[in-house]
């Protein structure tokens, strides 16, 4: 394992120029996430329409390249997906980061999956897993509209 696998070009690109880094004015769901270890935080905003489809998604916050890229790529891929699809993608991503070699879902295209697989290098850096997963946990929380602040120390 070396640093090149962790800091792949696509991660550096999204880390430096995160997409969807703004607040949606007419969001109807949102949640905050927090990593007490480093003080990084993220706020995810969603607009879920009556068909339970993600009409718009964005985030605010600051953090390391891994966490910014993760939030950026996540918001890109999740837009226009249905709620049940989002849940499947989130689970799939979290399992991949933890232990699985691959993504299993049939929702994302191969191209999209390749983007997510860029984060598989994080597995070798246990302290950085939290950086890669914070925004994803926070997305789940936003969908469930729980008021609780997500905390990466939980698990």
């Amino acid at each position: 394992m070396n640093l090149k696998e962790l800091y792949q070009e696509i991660i550096l690109d999204h880390g430096k120029n995160p997409r969807n880094l703004r607040k949606i004015d007419n969001h109807n769901k949102d949640a905050k996430g927090h990593n007490p270890l480093c003080g990084d935080s993220v706020h995810v905003y969603l607009k879920l329409n009556e068909n339970k489809k993600i009409e718009d998604i964005s985030f605010e916050g600051g953090g390391c390249a891994i966490s910014m890229a993760s939030a950026s790529i996540m918001t890109d891929l999740i837009k226009d997906k249905e709620e049940f699809e989002v849940k499947e993608i989130v689970n799939d991503f979290l399992e991949m980061i933890k232990e699985k070699d691959d993504l299993k879902n049939n929702i994302l295209s191969d191209d999209e999956k390749t983007k997510l697989m860029c984060f598989s290098g994080v597995k070798q850096y246990p302290m950085r897993v939290k950086c890669a997963t914070l925004s994803w946990h926070t997305l789940t929380s936003a969908i469930n509209n729980s008021q609780e602040i997500v905390n990466t120390e939980k698990n």
Binding site: L37, P126, I149, K154
Partner: protein, 406 residues
């Protein structure tokens, strides 16, 4: 199970005490350490040392994983439902202070009653006494009977509608009585009262099953469980750890800190403020492995036999008076001798390398009840043998000789 192989794992027994082999009969005070535990501390400091949880570098990651592994081992060993129900403390005393303090803050008010027993160690009484001072609560004592036991009935008698929490020892560190805690917990819960168990003496010797016991809180001392000093375990049901306020404040237990407000970390970090006893927690994993390898059933069977042998031997010795006779007893046996004070007994035994404890064993309430300020106490560990007990007995006889008692 071969006891001499087990005993060989404890390097302390390679040393002579005043030219004698060490006969260590003070394990209820603190147990000796197997080589695996000692080596783990050594290796951690020489090869892997770092603080846990705070840095992202290699050593910190390793240390954090090792530290959290112990939590998982403890969870498994005591059959807790959730690994976040395991909080590391500096000892059982701190664990009990933590509960008395935080439960007291939130749930105890003037006139409320805390029910403990006459058998309790000071660490399960003094923390409640603090609340008696600050919150004007009352402390009730369930009575010990003449066999040195506290029965379900004597607990029942003291429960009132003001009883807010019950604190009881699992195994008395003076009389050796094993209390019917499962029944007591059942009774308490039927009245909506939570129960704190002082598991200091039981943890090294009895099978622990938190889900079966269903207790609310359980306090354990690492050093009595063949582990390092400076580490203890608080088991607490998740609902309580989520519900109660934090105990100590500092690094690692916070979520967000602002000038006007502070929010706290999730479990178990909320209760682990500051740099923890990292090396000790990590090495404690080896204590658990040591116990698991022998197997708690084997330990219980072996110790049962040794306890019976000890009781029989001492009963046969006419100059010894056992101070309790519990039906269900653990490896703690206290006695007195007519004409020889416990302190003198301990000094004379020590001359032969026999280490016992004399005093009130942090149980003054019980000793007041017994009407004696001090007793001599023999307590056994997994390394003790019948030969140890024979040596004990012959050294006891020496007391008579020195004091010229027939």
């Amino acid at each position: 199970m071969n006891i001499s192989d087990i005993k060989k794992q404890f390097p302390i027994f390679n040393n002579k005490i005043k030219n004698n082999d060490l006969v260590y009969l003070d394990s209820a005070n603190s147990a000796q350490k197997p080589q695996g535990v000692i080596n783990r501390v050594y290796d951690f400091y020489t090869k892997e040392f770092s603080n846990v949880g705070r840095s992202v570098h290699y050593l910190a990651v390793t240390a954090t994983n090792l530290y959290e592994n112990t939590r998982s081992s403890v969870q498994k060993y005591i059959n807790a439902k959730d690994r976040n129900e395991i909080v590391f403390t500096k000892g059982a005393t701190e664990a009990m202070n933590l509960i008395a303090n935080t439960f007291g803050q939130k749930y105890l008010n003037e006139g409320d009653e805390v029910l403990i027993t006459e058998l309790e160690h000071h660490s399960n009484y003094v923390p409640w006494h603090f609340l008696r001072k600050s919150k004007k609560i009352n402390i009730e004592f369930a009575e010990v009977n003449e066999d040195g036991e506290v029965t379900l009935d004597s607990i029942k008698k003291k429960i009132t509608n003001k009883t807010k929490i019950i604190g009881i020892t699992h195994l008395s560190n003076v009389t050796g009585a094993i209390l019917p805690i499962k029944e007591i917990i059942g009774l308490a819960h039927s009245k909506g009262i939570p129960v704190l168990i002082d598991g200091c003496q039981s943890a090294p010797h009895l099978k622990l099953d938190m889900q079966d016991l269903d207790c609310d809180f359980y306090a354990i001392s690492g050093h009595k469980m063949y582990g390092p000093t400076g580490v203890g375990i608080l088991y607490a049901k998740k609902k309580w750890l989520e519900d109660l306020p934090p105990y100590q404040g500092g690094g690692g237990m916070i979520k967000e800190v602002k000038k006007q407000a502070i929010s706290y970390a999730d479990l178990p970090n909320k209760y682990e403020a500051g740099t923890m006893a990292t090396a000790q927690v990590i090495a404690f994993n080896e204590s658990i492995k040591f116990l698991e390898k022998i197997g708690i059933e084997n330990i219980q069977n072996y110790e049962k036999e040794l306890i019976n042998y000890t009781v029989d031997t001492l009963k046969k010795n006419n100059s010894v008076k056992l101070i309790a006779n519990p039906k269900n007893r653990g490896g703690v046996i206290s006695f007195t001798m007519e004409g020889v004070h416990p302190h003198d007994i301990a000094t004379i035994l020590d001359e032969d390398g026999v280490a016992i404890r004399a005093g009130h064993h942090c149980c003054q309430i019980l000793h007041e009840k017994l009407g004696i300020p001090a007793t001599a106490r023999v307590s056994i560990g997994i390394y003790n043998t019948k030969e140890d007990i024979d040596q004990l007995n012959s050294s006891i006889n020496k007391c008579n000789k020195i004091f010229d008692l027939k």
